[in-house]
């Protein structure tokens, strides 16, 4: 409502200007419509931002710690750790990069597009430095693999109720 009032005022101002320069009016209306569009786009972006996929890190009950820093989580998911402190082998399980959870994981963990994440892992496994993650088509498939694989760690968008899995608290929060 406030925006509409502002526009009316501007039109009045515009009208006054037009008394002196009759040619400016159509141009001014276009400019104000443009501003209105930008404001609406910003509001939409804020709403969408608020609704972006919230992620949760889960793991098999054996291996990963119950709490981690975000930097540690990112390091593990970039293949920089071969074994957990208890000696269990780290296995990374991710949703495919073309799924909503996979896309959000690429952005929040890797700060890369899905294609770049796949290229990153191709290069790493090719150099022999790390085993590539297991990429899953569905959350249920991901949960099954994590529950059956000691040392597995995964990212999903809801708390898992599968047996043999636990939620990892990251920077003191359940989700990020």
């Amino acid at each position: 409502m406030g925006i509409q009032t502002g526009i009316r005022c501007n039109w009045q101002l515009d009208f006054r200007i037009n008394i002196k320069t009759m040619t400016l009016r159509p141009f001014k209306i276009l400019v104000y419509k443009k501003y209105l569009s930008i404001v609406l786009l910003l509001i939409t972006a804020i709403i969408v931002k608020g609704q972006e996929t919230s992620l949760i890190a889960i793991s098999n009950t054996k291996g990963a710690p119950s709490t981690m820093k975000m930097t540690e989580l990112k390091s593990v998911l970039k293949g920089e750790k071969q074994r957990w402190n208890d000696g269990t082998k780290v296995s990374i399980v991710l949703m495919k990069t073309n799924t909503p959870v996979g896309e959000a994981t690429c952005q929040k963990i890797y700060n890369m597009s899905g294609d770049k994440v796949k290229r990153f892992w191709l290069g790493l496994s090719f150099s022999g430095k790390s085993d590539a993650p297991i990429f899953c088509n569905s959350i249920s498939e991901l949960e099954t693999i994590v529950s059956q694989t000691p040392g597995a760690i995964a990212i999903l968008d809801k708390i898992s109720i599968s047996t043999n899995t636990k939620t990892i608290v990251v920077d003191g929060k359940n989700s990020f």
């Binding site: 920089e80 597009s113 294609d115 191709l122 496994s125 022999g128 085993d131």
Partner: protein, 337 residues
Amino acid sequence: MKELKSIAILLIINSFISSSVLHAQNTQIKGFVDALAGVQNDKLSFALGEQDLFITSELSDRFSFLGESVFRFTNTTPTKFSVSIERIVIKYNFSGNHNILVGKHHTPINYWNDTYHHGRVLFPTIFRPLLFDANIIPLHTTGVSLQGHNLGELKFGYDLMIGNGIGSTDVLDNDARKSITAAMHIKPAEGLRLGISWYNDGISKGASGHDGMPVQWAVDQNLFSGSIAYFGNKFEVLAEGTLGINKTDTTGSTRTLASYIYAGFKIREKIVPYVRLDNLTFQEGEIFYDNNNTTAFVGGIRYNINYVTVVKMEYQHQHTARDGDSNRYTMQLAIGF
């Protein structure tokens, strides 16, 4: 005492077997291939690149295997193609990020040789830097190595390797002397890797050099290499240099400096224009390397269609002391499968 030894051996074997049984074997086969078109000396030619088959297998909780075989054009065989084993590495992860590797490796002497191997789709440019073509460094070593990576805050990594030296085959060393490679690197920031290495070998008189020709003197070789690699969201920089010191009883020590610098700038996520400068400087009297001072400029553009399909277009101007100037235009389509 004998019984204790037997029990210990049985326990070790049992631990290997049980870990193998508990973990299903996970084997993946991937490959790379490329096709080229190029203009040199006013002539257009089409060419097949290498077909690289790459196999990884997790044998158990601790053991894994990596194999890389390349099929390439070879004029001297009846079929005009040959197969070569580029890497066979059996890795045992003995603790944390520390591993023992046995087999045929790409010598971890610099970033390029330790990272890109034969995956042309991963190369930032179409061809390797000139220090590879000029056989300055040993590309492969068959032997055993200790490797660690991403240790501590600086993500320190190391490789310590002993292996058959230059002139040996993959099944037999030609002399008693072993090659030694010691390399270390740190990754102090995202995308940044700084590394140094030292390679030492004694090359016997009559042994085959990198180019297959017999060496006329016994050579004591030391290679000191350094590299800076930065691959960020916008900029890419890779600079590497190797100082090669070859010493013989008759000619003394000669020094060779081989280096290159690559820089790329992502104008869009998938489009990267790039340049590379190469330099090879041989000291007068060099007898192990092909003494031919060379400089080259490479300019090109890389378009990543997707993560396993890349098109590159490149111009190269090269000047050698022996042959003068030459120009080459090349286009490459590289894929992974």
